[in-house]
Amino acid sequence: MTESVEAPLALLAELTHRCPLQCPYCSNPLELERASNEIDTATWLRVLDEAAAMGMHQVHFSGGEPTVRKDLEELVRHADENGLYSNLITSGVLLDRTRLEALAELGLEHVQISFQDTVAPNADRIGGYKGGHEKKIALAHMVRETGLALTVNAVVHRQNIEHVPDFLDMAVDLGAERIEIAQVQYYGWALKNRAAFIPTYDQLKRTTEFVTEARERLKGVLVIDYVVPDYYARRPKTCMGGWGRRFLNINPAGKVLPCHAAESIPGLTFDSVHDHSLAWIWENSSAFNKYRGTAWMPEPCKSCDRAELDWGGCRCQAYALTGNAGTVDPACELSPLHEETFGLAMKEAAGPPPAFIYRRIGADQEQDAPVFAEPAE
């Protein structure tokens, strides 16, 4: 890079891929890192120092389930000492009151708990973990009692989308200050299970109308973040705020990725925190520079007036649907594959949902082929 690269805002720290839940839409890669590959405490502490020195503002302790790491307390304390704002992104089924209070004492600011539905039987079925929903609700109350900020993360799809109004009520009842209505995004496990998850266009439209109205009604009470499945969109999402622009993600083995799904793109080389500093990787990593900015863009992206707004959408999605990560994101209506993508979503949503392929080590044996062939030039 000749021009200097603005520092990222936040570090996504995937401490582990171990998780007691088996959600079939998990954002982790199909090939999960085993515990024996996880980087040690000292390395994470150094990484946090480097992140703070770069001027990053926040760290998101995530996974897998980050609370399976016994050194979480040490990492939270170190983040706080370095002025980094700590978020804990958790399934909520392993954390007890004693440990939560200790984390709060050490400087944790915010807990995000994922919910699979508002009703226990369906939630537990989707997460593949009996009794999970009840534990999550109990933890949400504890978070509130401990005085930490609370986000309800509602992962929404065709098998629970009718409960979006209930999700909002649940968040208000729990005293959460924020809810993410996050429609499933189709990478990795979710891509494998897409037909089981993608809602119909009508379901999406109704939900969007409801959320838009609720946002106005709950202004100042509940912050609502809303993510739509962009197969039905006209323009792609600004994925990660642009490749290599706002975030960096460290996987459990110490590989530094532009986003959590980046490993799904073959041919990219990711640098490791074992070999380089975070600042060096941010500026020099070939994986970050490959799709950073606008120079890599094909037409019609390059001359598009939205090029520096959506930064070309999502590279992982472009790869998943076309086999070429450097082409137009098919979520964009200017992609020759847009109509086909929309039609595919409609078709899958109209059929009966297939059985889930649950997220677990070794469940990724089926071969993944791109859905569409590369369009003729």
């Binding site: 520092a7 805002l9 936040a10 703070a52 020195a53 770069m54 001027g55 503002h57 926040q58 998101h60 002025g83 704002y85 978020n87 600011e109 915010h110 995000q112 005085g147 930490l148 900020a149 986000t151 200050e177 924020r178 202004k219 100042g220 912050v223």
Partner: protein
């Protein structure tokens, strides 16, 4: 008495030499005027106190400052960055 709610921190980022409001998975970089207002939001000063302080220090008409401060705080409250 404007104050920062649970999970919201108004901090100076030393590496970037920049004031920021940090909130759950969000952040906001306030402009210079907003920074002066936010420095006074400690939960014990009323909006009136804040306006008086700014009017004295910046030698500007009190009613103009009052209007600007009210608009700023309402906008931040709507977004969950501050409580009244």
């Amino acid at each position: 008495m404007p104050n920062f709610p649970r999970g919201v921190k108004f901090r100076f980022n030393k590496a970037k030499e920049q004031w920021v409001i940090l909130a759950p998975e969000r952040l906001l970089v306030p402009d210079e005027t907003a920074v002066e207002v936010l420095k006074l939001c400690d939960g014990s000063a009323s909006v009136g106190n804040i306006v008086d302080d700014l009017a004295a220090r910046f030698n500007a008409p009190r009613d103009v400052i009052a209007t600007d401060v009210a608009a700023l705080l309402q906008d931040l409250a709507d977004k969950g960055f501050i409580t009244a």
